[in-house]
Symmetry: C5
Subunit: 299 residues, 5 copies
């Protein structure tokens, strides 16, 4: 995630990080050249058929609405994913406090909280399809065992429950405590399943096809409408239209998958660090520094 | 559900799976030919009345808004259905843990979890109007009895509660445990009723009529507007407009019914498998493989 | 509610049920004739002032946005109403199970569940302002008494609570059971109040005025814009525009009041039947058939 | 709130109540005359510069989107306010039932329910900045004391809790009852704070400025675009555009503040009466009549 | 936050506070002059290429949709932030009442409520990155200690829980009381994490780039379209378009960060005062005055 403010003028002109310009520059260039070629043929060789710009306007509106829809849906996924992680951070903090109230400060509480940190790392690894066992093992030596299961973060939560059950069996956890802590774990479970849902269910593929095909058709027809209406500006207008349509598509593609390790993705590393800090402070241990953005990007 | 990334250029040009092109190609062809005919008559036989493209623009905007509305509503149904199933997966995992805490690892817990798997299969069968009793019977031999009731998944949940009641009557389940587990079942019940709602209440029929009728009217009038403004491109423009309008309509029709077994439908089979895996791991049994997309499609 | 799939081509051309065409045909005809008159006067008698179609476009966009807003708001009301009823169905099923767990199978449970059916019928009657006492009395002979109160469904819920209180006073209902069942009743109460809210608070009247007045103004001015731009198609375009604008208005009017007994209203009768079936199966009694659509309409 | 159905044709033409026509008529007239003046000068004295109607179209679209946004936000506030009050009505009914179950029918229950009615009146008074102490005193003689505090409805809820505490101290309220009733009060507290939020946080002022300034600029420039395109219809078109833009702004202003005592405001008086009736029926006392709309308006 | 009503006519013309006019005036001026220069060159030196205004219209619609999207997203953040603070106010009031019910009026209750006030101040300080320790210390002398931790408001909540634990250990807090109060603290924790989320996760940077770059491109090309269509009004139209596009961008930038101490930001100081008043009244102490807007602005 890029943690930067409104762009300054120079950034606006030259910022590349966080921009999608590099990705779409070839297409912009292609459509500019193509438009120039259409214009050149029309003016020098023989007149090509023209399309009224008003006819383009009609499906320009439709295309804008579809792009807008996809963009909204992708942003909602990104923001919901952020909310789910925010809820997990709150759950971890509340868990620390509820353990204090119902179990007291003891080894079971520390064990549970440390396994929660491992859960967060394994969950991050699952979502990013990267190996986070080493980090999970820093607080919970058994993290490797969880990682051997089909769903490692779920295994970590199961382990938590076993600790609670042992405490309950030993008479150290009241019925009310069991219920309160079970609810907290259910809340973590729900957030985990929510993240899995977002990671595993992309936007319906048919939208990507529909929107991209329509964008290409639009940009292919556009020069025939620009011949009369934009004159020698036509290649510039084509490039800008390509910038707007393919740019928004590219943004949508990044936000649609909020857990990927891209500059506009969610800072899962930093959020796991926040959880580590929360647990350390709850246990009265020395807390690490929060992660700082590197070159404006929080990973 | 198609689990594929942003389409590559060749996919973009040729992808047919997950596309709706086959469904709407006849209409695109029809309107292209019709437009060519109108154009031919106008140019060769005698001039037809023209409509200004601006007049078409006005109701093009209105039509885009209606299509956009229907599309939003259909996507919301699809995504809500996915959320409900995601919530059910979380509920099953939490149920496994709460049973551990309140009942301990014993036959009752195993029985309940296995009946939950049967519930998921029967629920899937109800939603898809397909026969899933055989799969449900794999974990719960009594699944055939549930299937004989008016609402088989509801009967499965009732069975769960009878097991809990027996445990309670035998003094093995505390009052707090009853409450906690009853809440979990209520959560499953709510998700089930939510899916029934989506399956049983389509978008108001009047929208389909209004949108489709307007689309046909639009495409019928369009050639008279394109005569002047698009020249020999007119059939192409007509076909593209038909592609955009009927294509979005077709997408909407698929997403409106998220439980149907179509390529853009929800992967209920795969999600039932996730539930099976979660239960198997909770019981410490060997878990099946998650389902893999076949030819890019998860069923 | 019309339970039909995407319309087939003949339906598209001729479907009248669920369509709003009959309601708005007079207005379509009127504006077609009016446009023909304007056109005739302009061409034969003396030229009338013209309005540019672009000027119409401006407020066409504004009008489309307002219509779109009203339509969204009405659909949200319709869908929220459906969700509330779906939640009530889930509540009734959960109630059946929770009574089993906390009260056991006995006369009190049967009494409560049967009164719940009466509640559903009385609630339906309240929302539709129709007399449903006879149906309510089928399961609860005291339904007539509830109906004599200001808010009959609320009286039915109060009766439920009295049964619970008697059980509690007799020592057959634990504190935890009281709480669990009180929560279930509170959930029904909330759904009931939500339905009352939708039934009692229409969309602000000012929107209807604003939208309808603007639609009439638009259709009145439109012919002066179509004179030049649509030629002899003008009456057709006028009729289509009237169809789109008044048609959407009419749809909105139906969905705004989701409880009315109209073809696009919610199938309250069928949902009460679902509740009856759920209760019958929970009590192990013979369950009625679910209601079937009559001529494609579920009432 | 105006409780009227879709307007009939005569209402449509002449309805003034609930309409915002009176408020904006001066502006409509002004812009009509101004447009006529511009037109007269252009035609008789010397030609003024013209603006293309298409240029106006561009910012017409932008302006429509802003107006649409403000309108959506205002309507959401209005509807959320209605939901909060609907939730309070449900809370009061549930409170009556839960008191029955946990405290039984006694003086404490009556006292609490009557104080709840006072709470509703004081809350309404706070939101409308009107004096409702007399009405609150009808059911709770101590209402005057609450009214002397900074936040009278909060003081009424505090009083409720003191009654509960006394019952608990006297051993008449179990721990579970305390919790259940505390949750109900917390729900009322949340609804109260939600209403305070809506009443105290208007839409950001900058939107009003931006939208109104742009509307005025638009209407000022419009005549120069209408000179060519609308001819002698220009004053009419100007007046209609002013009607649409300022009309929607005026609607937004009313709905933005849903608690004010205006015709499109929420019927707080009627909803307090519903609460009175619910309490009376819960206590078995004679219930007042629900309030009836006066001249189509429910206050 | 500006607490002012709909602007009066003079305000409309001259209001500067709360307006973003000062911020964007340079850009409006620049584009007006630039347009005048383009126009001058075209008319006096040699004709420049023209762009059809319709071509601008196409991406004007797209740009409006993007601006609209960003604006919606920013407003949603602002309003969600307000809701979270409103929920915290309700939580504090409910906390006061629940402490009364479960702990009684004693020093522990007072200590907890006063620490809650410190929590609110520290939370505000964290969100605004300002020093609020002095204000927090007014009610809780240990506020300085909390401020030394990584997350001061979280430390304050931890302190609250320690007090509860001591009460529980001393036998003064029942199991049910523990659970009820733990839930209340969890609710505060969730609201705190929600605010952190909004403060720490700006809208994806790529949107700002895309929207601002497109706006600049638009305004740069616009004069070439206005040459023909707006004549000598062209600089005025350019300035207005710049006003609309950059104005909305500037509004979005302010609302996107709802906790910053700007005129359109949330009144955190005033809301902390509301919390102080609620606590004072709950403790029966003299309550401060609510904060009054200074010059129409509540900070």
């Amino acid at each position: 995630m890029i943690v930067r403010d409104a762009p300054s003028l120079p950034q606006l002109l030259f910022a590349i990080k966080g921009s999608i310009i590099i990705q779409i520059a070839p297409r912009m260039l292609f459509f500019a050249l193509y438009t120039a070629a259409v214009l050149g043929i029309d003016r020098s060789l023989y007149p090509l058929p023209h399309v009224s710009i008003a006819a383009m306007g009609i499906f320009g509106v439709a295309l804008s609405l579809f792009l807008g829809f996809r963009n909204n849906a992708a942003y909602d996924r990104w923001w919901e994913a952020r909310k789910l992680w925010g809820g997990m951070i709150a759950d971890v903090r509340s868990l620390g406090r509820e353990l204090l109230l119902f179990l007291g400060e003891g080894p079971a509480r520390a064990k549970i909280l440390k396994t929660t940190v491992a859960f967060a790392h394994l969950h991050r690894g699952w979502l990013r399809q990267s190996d986070t066992v080493a980090e999970a093992r820093r607080t919970d030596p058994a993290a490797g065992d969880y990682a051997a299961r089909r769903n490692p973060p779920d295994a970590a939560l199961r382990e938590l429950m076993l600790v609670l059950e042992a405490e309950a069996a030993a008479g150290r956890l009241s019925d009310m405590g069991r219920r309160t802590l079970a609810e907290r774990l259910a809340s973590l479970t729900l957030a985990q399943a929510g993240c899995e849902r977002i990671a595993g269910s992309p936007l319906p593929f048919v939208y990507s096809l529909l929107v991209l095909r329509t964008s290409y058709l639009y940009c292919t027809l556009l020069p025939f409408a620009l011949i009369e209406t934009a004159g020698w500006f036509a290649p510039v207008v084509s490039a800008i239209v390509a910038y707007v349509f393919f740019g928004l598509s590219a943004v949508t593609d990044e936000l649609e998958h909020p857990f990927r390790d891209v500059v506009n993705g969610l800072p899962l590393d930093a959020m796991c660090r926040v959880i580590e800090i929360s647990v350390a402070e709850a246990l009265g241990e020395a807390a690490a520094e929060p992660m700082r953005p590197v070159d404006g990007v929080l990973s």
